[in-house]
C-alpha cells in the first residue's frame, strides 16, 4: 500500500512525505511538549520537559540501559513461550469445529481475568523476580495468537474443503495443505498485537514484584520523586515497543507478502 503512495508522491514534490511523516510528528510532539511546559511553567515533578527527561536519560544511562535489557528479555521470553503455546493451542482449537465451540468460551473467560489479579498468585508460586514477569508477559500475550490461528483454520472456504475431500483428502491433508498456510497471515498479524501486550505484562509484573527491569525502576524513581526518571523509563519502554512492533511488522511482510498482494482476508 504505502509503496504505491510513495511512487505517486515522491517524484512530484521531491520529498518523501510518507517516510518523513512519523519523524515530523514525533519531533513535533516533543517540541510542543517542551514549549507548553515552559509557557505554563509546569513544575518538573508534575510534567518534566523533554530536555529535562533527556538529562535524566544521560544521568542514569547505564542503569536505564541495564533495566531496559532486563525488561526486553523477560518480554521476549514470555512472548516466545506465547508463540509456541499459542500456535499449538490455536492449531488444536481450530482443528475441529467442536473443539472450537467447546473451548472458545473458556478462552474468553480466561482472557477477561485482569492479569493484575494473577501476578500475586504467580509471585506466591514462584517468588518475586523475573519468573512472574515472564509468565505475565506470556499469559497476557498468547490469547490473540490462539484466536488468530484458530480463526484462520476454522474459516477455510467450504468449497476448498469439498474439492479436497472429494479427492479422498483426510483432515490432516486439508490442514497441512490449506489450513495452516492460510492461518499464517493471521498468525503473523497477531504477533504485532501480542508483542505490545507482552510488554504490558512484563512491566506490570515488574512494578508489583521484581528487583530489576523498567517497571521496578519506574516504581523506585517514583518513590524517590525522580519524576524525570519515571518519564525516561516510559520513553525507553515506548522505544522498545516501537522497535519490536517494527520487527514483527517486517516479519509479517516478509513471511506472508502474498496475503497483502492478493488482498487475502480483507
Amino acid at each position: 500500500m504505502t509503496e504505491h503512495i510513495d511512487e505517486e508522491l515522491a517524484p512530484r514534490s521531491g520529498i518523501n512525505w510518507i517516510r518523513l511523516a512519523p519523524w515530523i510528528c514525533t519531533i513535533g510532539l516533543f517540541v510542543i511538549w517542551e514549549i507548553a511546559v515552559k509557557l505554563f511553567d509546569v513544575p518538573y515533578y508534575i510534567l518534566p520537559a523533554p530536555t529535562r527527561i533527556w538529562g535524566a536519560i544521560v544521568e542514569f544511562g547505564p542503569a536505564l540501559w541495564r533495566n531496559s535489557i532486563q525488561t526486553l528479555w523477560t518480554t521476549m521470553a514470555g512472548f516466545l513461550i506465547a508463540i509456541i503455546f499459542g500456535l499449538a493451542l490455536g492449531l488444536f482449537i481450530g482443528w475441529d469445529r467442536r473443539i472450537y465451540a467447546g473451548l472458545y468460551p473458556l478462552m474468553i473467560g480466561f482472557n477477561s481475568i485482569p492479569k493484575v489479579a494473577v501476578v500475586p498468585i504467580l509471585v506466591l508460586w514462584f517468588g518475586a523476580g523475573w519468573v512472574p514477569a515472564v509468565l505475565t508477559a506470556f499469559l497476557i500475550s498468547f490469547f490473540p495468537i490462539v484466536v488468530n490461528v484458530a480463526t484462520g483454520l476454522a474459516t477455510i472456504e467450504p468449497e476448498m474443503e469439498d474439492v479436497l475431500r472429494a479427492l479422498g483428502a483426510k483432515k490432516f491433508d486439508i490442514m497441512t495443505k490449506v489450513g495452516i498456510p492460510r492461518s499464517l497471515p493471521y498468525f503473523f498479524g497477531s504477533l504485532k498485537v501480542a508483542i505490545t501486550l507482552a510488554f504490558i505484562g512484563s512491566v506490570l509484573s515488574e512494578t508489583i514484584a521484581a528487583n530489576s527491569g523498567l517497571g521496578h525502576m519506574m516504581l523506585t524513581a517514583q518513590a524517590n520523586f525522580e519524576v524525570p526518571l519515571v518519564f525516561a523509563c516510559l520513553i525507553a519502554l515506548a522505544v522498545e515497543g516501537i522497535g519490536m512492533y517494527a520487527v514483527m511488522a517486517w516479519l509479517e511482510q516478509r513471511m506472508t507478502g502474498w496475503a497483502h498482494r492478493s488482498g487475502f482476508s480483507q
Partner: protein
C-alpha cells in the same frame, strides 16, 4: 452402458442448526448417470442441486435411500471426483501451476509418486493450462489472473488427476457471456477427448442444452427429478447450433418445466 452414478429414492434432511430449523433438501430423488455421459441438472434456486452434487460425491450422506458410485455403495467421500464451483477458490500462496497440481498431492494413487515425477507433472499441468488457453499462466499467482482465467485454472485442477467423474456446480455463473461460451467449448472438447463423465449444475438453460446429452429438471425444494430430457442434437456441436430453432425449442420446453416447478 453401465451406470457410474446411481441415486435411488434418496432423501436428505439437513439437521437443525443454531436456530435454523431442519431443511428437507431433497426427497425421493432418483437418477442415474451412465459412464462417459454428460448430464446437466437444472431447477429453481434452492431446490437441492448442490445437495445432489454432494450426495453423488459422498460429501453428504442420504437420510434415506442409497447412492452408488462405480458399483459401490457410497459411505464416504468417493475420492476420485474432480470438482469446480462458481467460486474458483484458488490458494493465493501457490503458483497457478501448483494449484492445478494440488489434487495429485492428495489423491492416494498419485501422492506417493508425486515428488519423484515432479518434472513430468509440471509439464502435464502446463499442457492442460495451455489447452484451456492459459499458456504461461502456470508461473503466475492466481490473484494475478482475471476471474475467467482463474475459473479455467480451477477446471484444470478438477481434471489434472484424470478423474472418472467431473462435478461442475455453476462453474461459469460469474463470467461474461463471451468467456462463458468460450469455456463451453473447452468443456465440450475435454469431454470429447477424455471420455470423462460430467455432471453439470447450471442456471443457464442454453448452457445445459449446448453441452449435455441428458438434462434433469428438478422440482422446487424438496427437490426431486420431475423431467428427464434427452438432447438429440448431434455432436460435436458448434456455437452456431444455439441459434437453430430446434435448440430454441428445447430451451423453451425446459423453461416451461421450471416455470411450472416454481409454482
Amino acid at each position: 452402458m453401465t451406470a457410474l452414478v446411481e441415486i435411488e429414492n434418496v432423501s436428505l434432511r439437513y439437521r437443525a442448526q443454531a436456530g435454523v430449523e431442519s431443511t428437507l433438501a431433497v426427497e425421493g430423488l432418483d437418477l442415474s448417470v451412465a459412464k462417459g455421459e454428460f448430464v446437466a441438472v437444472v431447477g429453481p434456486s434452492g431446490c437441492g442441486k448442490s445437495t445432489l452434487m454432494k450426495l453423488a460425491t459422498g460429501l453428504q450422506f442420504p437420510t434415506r435411500g442409497s447412492v452408488t458410485v462405480a458399483g459401490q455403495k457410497v459411505n464416504g467421500p468417493v475420492s476420485m471426483a474432480g470438482m469446480a464451483f462458481q467460486n474458483p477458490v484458488m490458494l493465493p500462496w501457490r503458483l497457478t501451476r501448483d494449484n492445478v497440481l494440488l489434487p495429485l498431492e492428495v489423491v492416494a494413487k498419485h501422492r506417493r509418486s508425486f515428488r519423484r515425477d515432479k518434472a513430468a507433472h509440471h509439464q502435464h499441468a502446463d499442457e492442460l493450462l495451455a489447452s484451456v488457453g492459459l499458456e504461461g499462466a502456470g508461473d503466475k499467482y492466481p490473484w494475478q489472473l482475471s476471474g475467467g482465467m482463474q475459473q479455467r485454472a480451477s477446471l484444470c485442477r478438477a481434471l489434472i488427476h484424470k478423474p472418472d467423474l467431473l462435478m461442475l456446480d455453476e462453474p461459469f455463473g460469474a463470467l461474461d457471456a463471451f468467456t462463458r461460451e468460450e469455456l463451453w467449448c473447452v468443456i465440450r472438447d475435454l469431454h470429447a477427448e477424455q471420455g470423462v463423465t460430467v455432471v453439470l449444475v447450471t442456471h443457464d438453460l442454453r448452457e445445459a442444452v449446448f453441452l449435455a446429452d441428458k438434462i434433469f429438471v428438478m422440482s422446487a425444494r424438496p427437490g426431486r427429478i420431475i423431467e428427464t430430457r434427452l438432447v438429440d442434437i448431434p455432436k460435436p456441436r458448434e456455437l452456431d447450433v444455439t441459434y437453430t430453432p430446434e435448440f430454441a425449442d428445447i430451451v423453451q420446453e425446459l423453461r416451461g418445466y421450471i416455470a411450472e416447478a416454481r409454482q
